[in-house]
């Protein structure tokens, strides 16, 4: 189909197609004397069409280029705004845990730490849940229930992040404040990871932010998983069942290996979302630049530092925040790039595109 289209379009790129003049000669009944004039006007018209086509194409192409310009512009403008800190401090900016507007010392370590920790918690919680949901919606649930349930879960993705923030602050933080003493008493006693769960039961903190993020990225990951699980060839699944494999064995040993690249792509997509999420995290993270060994303590993330401070920041402070934004953009871009490459590998193999 595309071959035909490309050929047809090829005809229009150059000069007017000869066939068109034939088609346009609708004045077949006109006397021979008028035909010279008619040809002339047709030619003029054909030339105008070609010119218009060229303009039209150029206009559309410019708009497509704008998409690239936005990405490039976002990277360049934040790098330019943060040049004072990026060039002045270089790698020390990444390694320093100080963030002091009074002495004008800025280091990215605390926000980077908070961003990574909350995103990792979110992935650890959301990936198994998303796999469970995708498994249920593609294998276990009765077919009439799959559509509505899938839609409902994916409705979570359309809720604005500010609503997650409100829910997090007014409902989930009090809930966590009640759960955390229990967490400290049980998980806090474990040998190696125990210290992660010790601390004051504030409700706010890295763990709470991680859980809210998990809820936010859950629908994205489960939607990707559901889609690729459905794309596994039925013969593979039927063959495994014929050998006596249970539903779980089919899912774990056939479906998951077959869709591995796309599943990892979906997880990266979720990670990309989690890294850059602002509002929901800002509400429940507690905004503290102390790096703590406990997940129950408040922290900060790149996005929430920017949201909290940018409008009051001037000079080096503003430059440091823009440098953080540049860092966030570069990291998210790399993660999303990996995600899309992995997802594309799957669609290629499936011939979906």
């Amino acid at each position: 189909m595309s071959g035909d289209r490309a050929n047809m379009r090829y005809g229009h790129r150059g000069d007017p197609v000869p066939g068109r003049r034939v088609a346009r000669a609708d004045g077949a009944a006109s006397p021979p004397a008028a035909s010279a004039v008619a040809t002339c006007s047709h030619e003029r018209r054909a030339r105008a069409d070609t010119r218009n086509d060229r303009w039209f194409r150029g206009l559309l192409q410019a708009c497509a280029l704008l998409v690239l310009a936005v990405l490039l512009g976002a990277a360049l403008s934040t790098a330019w705004g943060g040049r004072e800190v990026l060039l002045g401090q270089g790698w020390r900016f990444l390694g320093s845990a100080q963030w002091d507007p009074v002495t004008n010392n800025y280091g990215a370590l605390a926000p980077v730490f908070g961003t990574l920790v909350t995103s990792l918690i979110a992935l650890l919680l959301a990936v198994p849940l998303a796999f469970g949901i995708a498994l249920f919606l593609t294998r276990t649930a009765p077919p009439w229930l799959r559509g509505p349930l899938g839609t409902a879960v994916e409705l979570l993705a359309s809720i604005p992040s500010i609503i997650y923030g409100m829910w997090g602050l007014f409902a989930f933080v009090p809930f966590m404040a009640r759960v955390e003493p229990w967490l400290s008493a049980s998980l806090g006693r474990l040998p190696l990871i125990g210290c992660w769960f010790q601390g004051p039961p504030l409700g706010l903190g890295l763990l709470t932010a991680g859980i809210v993020l998990a809820v936010m990225i859950l629908p994205f990951i489960s939607a990707v998983m559901r889609e690729v699980f459905q794309a596994v060839p039925a013969q593979l699944i039927e063959a495994a069942h014929a050998l006596g494999a249970t539903t779980w064995e089919v899912a774990w040993q056939i479906v998951l290996p077959y869709t591995r690249a796309a599943v990892i792509g979906g997880i990266f997509l979720g990670l990309g979302r989690a890294l850059g999420e602002t509002m929901a995290v800002t509400f429940v993270l507690g905004n503290s630049y102390a790096i703590s060994g406990s997940l129950l303590m408040p922290g900060t993330s790149i996005a929430s530092s920017i949201a909290n401070e940018f409008n009051e920041a001037v000079g080096t402070h503003r430059s440091a925040l823009l440098a953080l934004a540049f860092l966030l953009f570069v990291v998210t871009f790399a993660v999303l790039l990996a995600a899309r490459l992995l997802l594309r590998r799957m669609t290629r193999r499936e011939g979906l595109r």
Binding site: F131, S161, S222, G276
Partner: protein, 290 residues
């Protein structure tokens, strides 16, 4: 021996499937919790005052300036991103369906789709707000226009993507028929293809509107917020999400109530859009199946 193995496998299977069902139930429960909370708190705070008072009145105030600001900026964002997005999507589907340039634009557009919105807000701050402030000698800084541009960047990739996909669904016979009549390419695209894909493109526009209407982060450094009613596009402009953000961080419970009412308005708006969108998608699919 074999019997215990069978039993074990069956138990593992049952356990895994049960956990899958539990995960789905948990997802639905969280959705229910969030929606129920928004509905309960929002309905309790819903009041005519919201639509008549401005937020400058504080605890006795409302959201009228924020609602009007949001409407203006959302429509402004659509006015920017719909033409640009439809044009870019048309280019991808009609002029570059297989080319390397088209593939890379499509690829980067997918990345823009999930790029952090706060960075896009900062981009507009550096690229629009600062230059405008410099040009006007500081008279114009944060503005509704800048807010619209920032929101347009959120909606743009959605529209590019849907337009691209919907145009690729239009049967090739339509193109062949039009071209064989001697219709120039631009006329074919505007009058035949875009019209054929119109309902799908409308879906994309609604999807984009649903996404950008709830965005807060890009507005913080572009439109800033305003406690008074303003219709001037070059003034600081309030919006519902930013007002919610400010009020929720305030200690006053009366302001929390107003924030919940705003949250309810946004959620209802977004959900209504999703439902409309599904109706359109359904109709579009039916049309193509016939």
């Amino acid at each position: 021996m074999s019997a215990t193995l069978q039993l074990r496998r069956r138990m593992v299977n049952a356990l895994a499937l049960a956990l899958g069902a539990c995960a789905t139930a948990l997802g639905l429960a969280l959705l229910g919790w969030i929606l129920w909370l928004t509905l309960r708190q929002g309905l309790a705070a819903l009041d005519w005052r919201l639509f008549t008072q401005v937020s400058a009145d504080g605890e006795q105030g409302g959201l009228s300036n924020a609602i009007v600001g949001s409407l203006i900026m959302d429509l402004g964002a659509l006015a920017i991103c719909v033409p640009v997005g439809v044009a870019a999507g048309t280019f991808l589907a009609e002029y570059a369906p297989r080319s390397r340039f088209g593939a890379s634009v499509r690829f980067l557009n997918d990345i823009l789709l999930s790029a952090p919105s706060i960075v896009l807000g900062l981009f507009v701050y550096v690229a629009v707000v600062l230059p405008m402030s410099r040009l006007s000698g500081g008279a114009v800084s944060f503005s509704g226009v800048a807010g619209s541009i920032a929101l347009a960047l959120i909606g743009l990739p959605v529209i590019v993507r849907t337009t691209d996909q919907m145009l690729q669904l239009v049967p090739a016979t339509l193109r062949e028929a039009a071209l064989s009549l001697g219709v120039p390419q631009w006329k074919l695209t505007v009058h035949v293809l875009l019209r054929a894909a119109a309902s799908g493109i409308v879906t994309g526009v609604l999807l984009a509107l649903a996404r950008l209407a709830g965005e807060t982060a890009p507005l913080l450094f572009t439109a800033f917020g305003n406690n008074f009613m303003t219709l001037h596009p070059l003034h600081k402009m309030g919006s519902v999400p930013v007002t919610i953000y400010q009020y929720a961080n305030d200690p006053s419970p009366a302001l929390h109530a107003i924030a919940w009412a705003g949250a309810l308005l946004i959620t209802l708006f977004v959900l209504a859009l999703s439902v409309t969108m599904r109706v359109f998608t359904h109709r579009h699919r039916r049309m193509h199946e016939q």
